[in-house]
Each structure stands twice: as C-alpha cells, then as structure tokens.
Symmetry: D2
Subunit: 284 residues, 4 copies
C-alpha cells in the first residue's frame, strides 16, 4: 500500500567515471548491474500551490549531477511504467500496513513477484523508521539469489545487521547501500558499496569525499569527516525530516521550497536548531 | 501516503431501526449525523486471479445487511468520488509514512483540510497497530470542534485514552467508536456509541447482541458474552489478521476467499489454532 | 534483579467490613484469601536527608486507614522476612533485566519457585511501563493453578488482555486487580475484583466510591466519576510519576515530601500542569 | 533499582603491555585512567545448588587472563566496598525502573552524585536492550566533563550515536567502549578505544586480534574477521543470552555451568542452533 520508489539515474556516467578511478575492495566490476556509489534521494519540489515543480526538479538534478551520484525516487505500482520511460532500476520499499502479517515468507513472496515481472533490476528497501519493520536478514539472503534483485538500501542504521547481510550474501552478486550518511563510514568498513543519503542533497561533495576516503583506505581522515557530518545528517533526516532537508537545500543554493501537507514547515525555533547543526560543524 | 478508507452505509435503515428502539445514554438523537452502532469493516473478496470479486462482495453485503450495521471501506484520495457515488461518510486513517513528523499540528492540519473539502462527514481513524502512531488526544479534541468531523474510530484498545476522548469532547457533537470487538463492552461502559469490528463479519449477530446488552444495562450478561468473544476477536485481528478473518468467513457461510499478496494464506497449523479459538468458546 | 514489593495490610478489617456490605458479582466469599478491593501503593516518605521517614509513613498509613483499602509495598528477596513480620501476602513484580530471555517457561519457573517457598500467598505483578514486558496470558493461566498464587495486579491497561485473564482463570480461585485507577471501571466491567491505584493515595474516598458504584451496578454514575478521575490518574502515574504523586499528597494533606534520586522534583511548569489536571476536574 | 556492576581489573598489566605496543590513534597516553582495550563481562559461575562457585570463577579468570583484557562485574550499592577491596573502576548501569522519569536531568544528577562520592573512576553504562532506555547523548556530553567519569560502555549498537559521542566529547578525556563484539570494528572506525564483549569469554584471542587489526589499520582483514564473529556474537548475546554464553564457554574449555533462575537452560533445538552459529563460521 505504501508507495514504491523509482530509481532514476542522474548522470550515471559521472559516477562510473569516479568508480573507474577507484581501486577499492568495493569496486563493482563484473556485476550484473553496478549500483555502487552515493545517491541523494531527491526531494520533490512543489510550487506554492502544492503542484510538483518540474522546472525546479530539473534544476536541482542539474546541480546534483555535478557530483558523482544518481537520483532515486519511487512508486511501487509504477515499476513497469518507470521502466518504459527509461528508469535503470526500481527501489521497492517493504509493504507495511498489515505489518503483523509481514512475515519473511510474505515479504519473500512479494519481492519475488515484483522482481519476476520487472524488466529492470530491483533494489530492496528497508526503512524501519517509516515502516515499523525490518526486512528480515533471512529474507534478504533468500532474495539475494534472485537474478533480478541486485541489492538493498538499508536505512535502519544497525551496522551489525548490515555487516551480516554483506557476509551472508558474499557469494551472490548482491550490493549493500547505506540508507543514510550517518553510518556511511561504518557501512563501508563492513563492506557496503555506497549510500543513498538525504544529506547528499546539500553536502553532496562532502559525502562523495567521505566515500572516496573510505574507498582509498584513508580511515583517519574519513573518521574526522564522518564526525562532522553526523549532526547535519540527523538534522535533515530523523530530527527535522523533509522540512529540514528542504530548508537546508534553500540555504545551499538548491530549490527546497515548500512541503506538502501533512508535513509542516519548520518553526523558527526548529530552524534555528537546524542551522546550529550545520554551523557548529563548520558547514555554514 | 497510506490509503484512506471510505465509509459506505449498508442498510442504514436497519441500524436506524435498532437505534430508535434503544433508550440508552449513547443514543444519537439530534446529532449532525448519527454514526452509533456496530459496523463490520468489510473484507475485499478476490477471485482466484486476485481480481476484486464484486459479485461476492455484493453477496456478503447482502448477508451482512441482515444484521444492524453498516459497512466501511476507504481510500483517502477517493473522498470526493466516494461522495459522488453516494457514500454517507468517509473514515480517514492517520497519515503515517513520515511518522516522525506527524505532530499534533500536522495531523490537525491534515484532517481540517480533508474535512473542509469533503461534501460528506469525516470520521477520524487511529490504528496504531498498522500505522505506528496514535492520533494524539489533544488533536482529537481540537478536531472534534470541526463541523464536518463527526467522530473517531479508535482501534488502539487503550480504554483510558478512549474514556478521556469521550470526556473531553462531551460538549461537542462527537461520537466515539471502538475499533475492535475485543474492548467493545469496556468502550460502551466508558461512553462509546458503537464499534467497527472485524469480528462482526462472522459473528455479526453476537456482536450486535453485545451492543444491545450494553445499551440496555445488562452488564453481567454482557460480560459473559464479551468474554466468549475475546479469543475469536484476537484470532481474526491481531493474531491471524485478514487471512484469519477470511478463512473464518468461509466457515460461517460468507465468501472470504483468497488473500491478495503480500498477505499469505494461513498454514494448516495456524488454521487449526484459529478454529480452536472459536470451538473452545462455543462458536464452532 | 528488580526489587520485589511486599504487600502489607493496612486496616484490613475496614476493607472486610465494606466487602461484607457488598453483594456484587465480584464478592470474594469462600476464596483461599480474598484480595478484592482498592489498594493504594503507598509511597515511601523520606526526610530532607533522604532517610526513610517512618514517622511520616505511619502518619500516612493512619490517614489512608480511614478509607477501605490496604497498602502495598514490596521487595522480592524479602518475601520470607516480610512473612515473618506479619505481611498477609507478597506481590512479586516480573523479573525483567534479561527480558529477552524472560519466556513464559522462565517466568512460570520463577513464580512457581517463589510460591512454593513463600509461607504467605503470592500476587503476580505485571507492569510493562516499568519492566518492558508483559507476563504472558498463558503463563498467568498456568500459574493461576498454583495453590499459593491468588491473583494478579495488571498495570498494562489492556482490558482485552485483562478480560481474557478473567475468562481463562474463571475455574480457578484467582483474582484480578487493575493496576491503575485509569481503567478501573473497565476492569470491574470485565470481572476484576479491585485495584491497586496510586491515585487512591490522594483521592482515596473517590476511588472507593467508584468501586462501590461498579459493584452495585450504577454504571452511569460510575462512568461520570471515572471520567473525572482520568486526568488526575494519568498525572500521578504516567505523566508525572512518583514526584507528581508526592506533590499531590502534600496538597491533599498527606505527607508526600521529597523524592529520592534519581527521581527529580517537578519543575514549576510541571507542577502547574499537575494542578490543572485536578482543578479542571473539580478536585482542587 | 537495578544492580550496578563493578569493574575489576584482571591482569591489567597484560592489557597495558599490549597497549604500549600499539601506536594507533586510539592510544590512551596521558589519560586520567586508561580504559582502552577488550574486556569480557565475566559470567558468574554457579554450582549445581545455585551457589556462586568461586573456585570456578578464579579458574575462568586465570584462563581469561592469558588474553589481554580485563573483567567487569557489578553492583551499584557496592561502589565503595568494591573500591575498598581493590577495584580499579566501577561501571554503573543507567537506573531504569521508573524509566518514564529518567530524563537527562535525572540521569546527570544520578551519575554526578555517584562520581562525586566514588573513590575510583566511574564508567557510564547504557544498555537499552536490558533497561529500555538510552543514556541521552546530551547527558553523556555533560557527564564527560566530570573529573571522575572516564568513559562509557554503550551496548546499543547505534554507531551513529556512538560516533556522535566520540565527536562531542573529543575535547574531554573521555573514552568510548563498544558494548558488544558485533559492532566492534565499526566502533573503532568511529573512534572508540575498546569493547566490553561477551564473546571475548569464548573467542577472546579472536576479539583481541580484531582489536589489533583495527588499531593497526588493517581494515580489510578486520572486516573479514568481524564478519565471521557476527553470528557467534549475536548467538551469545541477543539470541541466546547468558544461557547461550555459558553453554559455549563449556564447549571452549571454560566453566560456564548452570544458569540461575529465572534464566533457563537452552533447549536441545536452541543448543543446536547455537552450535551452528559457531560451526558455519569456522570456530567449532
């Protein structure tokens, strides 16, 4: 019932170009489809009348395109139509409304069906903060064997689980993406190959720099950079959500613009706290 | 993002007829719209190929119509079209995907907008087991003052909260419905005026009998009947969900039929346990 | 590892005197030990130097003794010594530190051992708000058959569960007590025989009046009184906890006095909100 | 109300010897007290009659002493007596029974008092799986400034939080220890200086080897080793708890022995699953 999200590549050539230069252990050579790298989950810009602002969307994508990541966006019923209009892959969030019945068996059945019918590769998406459920590790391991399922975006932040997924799918062509910049360094350290990071919408260069430091084994510098990204990341995700992300995009020269109800704009107090999370870490 | 549910009356005249006979403190005389009574949230019957089986739906409604309740069904974007095709009211579930941002203010804004634009009355719907969030009591109290919001279906099962809602909206024309037959007696005891009960799809006469016992102050008999409905109710809701409800409908002469993925059919072991919850209480 | 609580009767003769007058369906005649009735979980008064103030404790007990309930207090290792100094029964909270291992089997084993060795009757105590776990219904049903286990105090507030416990132990000599005044009416409606209510420390006469209305079938008056007790009850339990209860005791002429660290005194803002919950319902 | 735990060093000279050889960024030179390194939280061995088996405890400590870590054990009221009998430091778990009132202010007050009065250094201990609450980051930051609080054991597994604690206490002499071997590599990558790891009771050499790989920057080998420790670690902690840990200790030549009620011994099925988690990763 929850909307799936479509995965559309933005300037994939840039990402590929970067990947080619990398010689890290996370390199995706020979994979059925390489999804390694940093992706910003692109916000949907709205006009003052709550219409999707396609002009602003294009503008943002153009700006984001100058950093080496790809955009993600989604809806589940639209997998086929998304494929028709040229999407490279679809990312499918776990169904969750009847969460009490979302057993491993039910979820395996769900994703298998989607993957069977999708003309483009499927990326699993587990985001317990929104859905109230984790895609169980045993389900991920089973699904990793499906030829049309290429990886997972895991936003739960449990790196023990994330490492276990990498470990138990190591014989499959299966790629793990961190679902947030907050545990990106840890995810790379455990074998993830990239991240889908809200923060990359505003600190895109810095998140890509963190990727580079991890891939080239510069862990001490990576740690310092990761530390400075923690509070800004929490601010645009768990703490202030989409309204916080859009407000920050405005500050950083992108078009964030208004939110769509029921999401509310930030209060002046919240906005001040949001700004503080960026200034105390030297980003504003 | 979660689908809203439309509220369509099934044989409202029957329910009205019953209500007229009642002289309890829960009587809805003079209300803007009277929603008191017992409602089964009607299951959607599917054919073997997962198409909605409208014939079976009509058949079920016909059978259910012989008991004094109305059917509920919903989707949020369909409020207007539902009104056009004749719905009496809409029941709107809390939005929940970005639950971290679903403050009282956000939820009040959401429901106020829906109620402002809806040509038919709006019933609030709080179901934390599915959405992971409660509609806060202060939001309910504020929304109860909207002329087009007539009540709430509360499925949380916290009767302290439910009693508080009745108490704090007592000066409004606002009606509280229990969202499950498991706490129906308790809800009536605290001032609710009805229930939307999955169990009424199979033990409709019994749930309506429980209503009658409560409304006429026969609390000892009500307690005995309520006790015998507890396990069957849990079985077709929290324990075995929609698959359990549909299976039981088949047993009781309705058309339950197959579930739609990702929901799975019950295993033989689960089916046995489900049956036991009805037999040990004397219903099968 | 969590401290057990001892159950010491305060003026049981008063309670018995009241019970005798009652002719309700909850009457405890012929029971192995009758624990029906209203009990305030007595706060521990401290001096300014955080010593237990036994003089104040005696004073409070004296005042509380003028209402028909008994005091409860507890510690698990002290069951035997409590029996030696004259306690009538012990109430034993669920162990919870290693909650991941607190299966039904483990809890049944635990309580069976305590009950086997205790010279005085044992009351089970399930309080998920503090312990993070419910004593499972199947464990309660099994334990209800133990000759030295006489009942349960259930503070979870889930009356569906509470009704199920009453229903499934109906052939045992087993008594159910509501663990809070917030769902006391509902608990009586479902077959409970009393309550252990923090609120009874300050509105003791009113809580006992609510008991009387329920036991004599005056449900409409009971509903009105229950409604007016909801906010005060939440205020001295979930909302402001022990500090709120003690502050209110001071207002009502008991000795509440200071809290012991780590519990903190209320802020002036909290104190104002606490007072409001009593004034808006006509108690102050 | 929950028992505090005392921290007693076992063969600290061994640990120091190892630390001296290290030249990593986590080195503790010049600290008020250096708590870096790997520690097994020592299990309490019982005889068949549930008495503490001091002989076996000494035997285990002797064996553990051959690996470079120190033992931890605890009870809160015993801080002073533990200091008298020679403990190097105390580790104090968050109080949690009245968790609804355990605000940052309350917890800061609690730890400040303990640290003020303790003759030996205090280590904070946050273990939400057991206590149901996290010690808030802002409380940790405030407490890190206390001269007698030297660090924290954090068992929550949220490395975003853990990194933030390292980042925000970087100007204090404050040391962060991972509370489990499951996220030990990630913790080191984010700036932790050691771990208190149940798994070190059975795979002590391997956990210390993982420490060494992290401290010397051999991250690829560290990743491979960490992967192989994930399932064994979960098995002796979250999955099978103390009974699992003790059973495994028996297998590895230590004395695990019986558990004390309410903890139950493993079923044969669980024991088989436990063994599998070690064999599939090449440890048995």
């Amino acid at each position: 019932m929850l909307g799936p999200r479509v995965w559309a590549s933005v300037r994939p050539e840039l990402s590929k170009a970067l990947s080619k230069k990398m010689r890290g252990w996370a390199s995706g050579e020979g994979r059925k489809i390489d999804i390694a790298g940093i992706y910003p989950p692109v916000t949907t810009p709205f006009t003052a009348t709550a219409e999707v602002d396609y002009g602003k969307l294009e503008e943002n994508l153009h700006k984001l395109g100058t950093f080496p990541f790809r955009a993600t966006q989604a809806t589940v019923e639209m997998t086929l139509s998304m494929a028709q209009v040229g999407a490279d892959a679809v990312m499918v969030v776990t169904p969750c409304y009847y969460r009490g019945r979302m057993s491993s068996a039910a979820l395996i059945h769900h994703y298998t069906k989607v993957a069977d019918l999708s003309p483009i590769p499927v990326v699993l998406y587990s985001v317990p903060a929104n859905t109230g459920l984790d895609l169980p590790v045993d389900a991920v391991v089973t699904l990793s064997q499906h030829p049309n399922i290429v990886g997972i975006k895991d936003s739960g932040g449990d790196v023990t689980r994330l490492g276990l997924i990498v470990h138990k799918t190591r014989r499959q062509d299966f790629q793990v993406l961190a679902g947030s910049a907050g545990f990106l360094l840890a995810a790379y350290a455990l074998g993830a190959v990239g991240g889908v990071c809200a923060l990359a919408n505003v600190l895109g260069a810095q998140v890509c720099q963190l990727e580079r430091l991890c891939l080239t084994g510069q862990w001490e510098d990576a740690q310092k950079l990761q530390h400075r990204l923690l509070e800004p990341n929490t601010a645009v995700t768990r703490r202030f959500g989409i309204p916080g992300l859009k407000k920050t995009m405005d500050w950083f020269g992108y078009y964030g613009g208004p939110c769509r109800a029921p999401l509310q704009e930030l209060s002046p107090t919240d906005e001040e706290a949001l700004r503080l999370d960026f200034t105390t870490n030297g980003w504003l």
